[in-house]
Amino acid sequence: MSSETKKKWPLWEVFIRSRQGLSHKHAGSLHAADAEMALENARDVYTRRNEGESLWVVEAVHIVASSPGDKSTYFDPANDKVYRHPTFYKLPDEVKHM
């Protein structure tokens, strides 16, 4: 066991489109030596019950993520831009739908 090469199969993240018209959604992860294998493994691990009709796999190291520490810097500034939401605008009662 100890003689095994240190190099392990990388981690891949799996995204599934459950049906036409929807976007791909993160389903989980797995290990695979190469991209083809990752796609096949994703099919076998995450779509055994018709969960999808299209798959994306991406090596986990290639995902760039915002960090929790940046949460307030990144996302709080959107808090006071209420004018971006339709509910900000009061309409006369006579206008039923807009």
Binding site: H31, E36, M37, E40, N41, D44, V45
Partner: protein
């Protein structure tokens, strides 16, 4: 004609059944969890195909001689002895190491895709229907086994020599897949079956291409092992049946 069709369909059912039985032994013992799941999926497809072919075989037999009781998929699986099985010998080769499992699968998948594609044109609608469903599965199996042949053949020095040895162990069982006999001749001429010899050149082309890319050499055709189609099986086969059939034999006529 139905009796011919029964025997012909039985061959397909037995091929799928025995391969599925072998792959089932590997569940829980794969080289890595993902591949464990993958091989089990292939095994499940084989069992599914076996059920379809064997059910059809039972109905065809019954249609040929209605005085016989109808044998369903389980009667045909669990209550026949070795000489009545007519699978090719290739699928009963032991799982061996992962290289053997992949070599067996790769050689068989190449045949299965071609045979099933041809069978989609069968004049018998039921056969054509099962073939059309199965060929999609077989194409996936072929992709999976081909990629493993590439990885093992062109991987490390050790994997290369192991894969080459595995190919050599399975190779004597290839020619039988393409043997023509009276049954296949009638099946082909009547339009509901396939002349297996016509599949050979496409099989060679497909296999040769992958072997070349995998830096593996094609083994020599020194010996050919035959007999599966006529019920003459390898030594290991009896043990496999004993295991597979044990419950039905020990406790006959039960529901499970």
């Amino acid at each position: 004609m139905s009796k011919d069709q029964f025997e012909y369909v039985l061959r397909a059912g037995d091929d799928a059944l025995i391969l599925g039985q072998q792959l089932g032994l590997l569940t829980g013992h794969g080289p890595v969890i993902e591949e464990d799941i993958a091989l089990t999926n292939i095994g499940l497809d084989q069992i599914g195909q076996a059920r379809a072919w064997l059910s059809l075989a039972g109905r065809l037999e019954h249609a040929a001689s209605s005085e016989l009781t109808l044998r369903d998929e389980d009667a045909l699986t669990f209550l026949r002895d070795a000489p009545e099985f007519c699978n090719c010998l290739l699928v009963e080769r032991p799982n061996g190491d992962f290289g053997d499992t992949i070599a067996r699968q790769f050689l068989y998948d190449n045949y299965a895709v071609l045979w099933l594609e041809a069978m989609t044109a069968s004049s018998n609608d039921e056969m054509a229907g099962i073939a059309a469903k199965s060929v999609k599965e077989a194409r996936y199996h072929l992709q999976h086994s081909s990629r493993w042949v590439l990885r093992l053949g062109d991987g490390t020095t050790e994997s290369h020599s192991r894969m080459q040895a595995s190919l050599g162990r399975m190779w004597p069982y290839v020619n039988e897949l393409f043997d023509v006999d009276e049954l296949t001749t009638r099946a082909a001429s009547e339009g509901w079956g396939v002349d297996p010899s016509k599949l050979r050149s496409a099989w060679d082309a497909g296999v040769n291409a992958v072997l070349a890319e995998a830096t593996l050499s094609r083994p020599d055709d020194d010996f050919s092992m035959r007999g599966g189609r006529t019920g003459s099986h390898t030594e290991a086969f009896g043990f496999m049946l004993a295991e597979m059939q044990f419950l039905q034999r020990a406790y006959p006529d039960c529901n499970w």
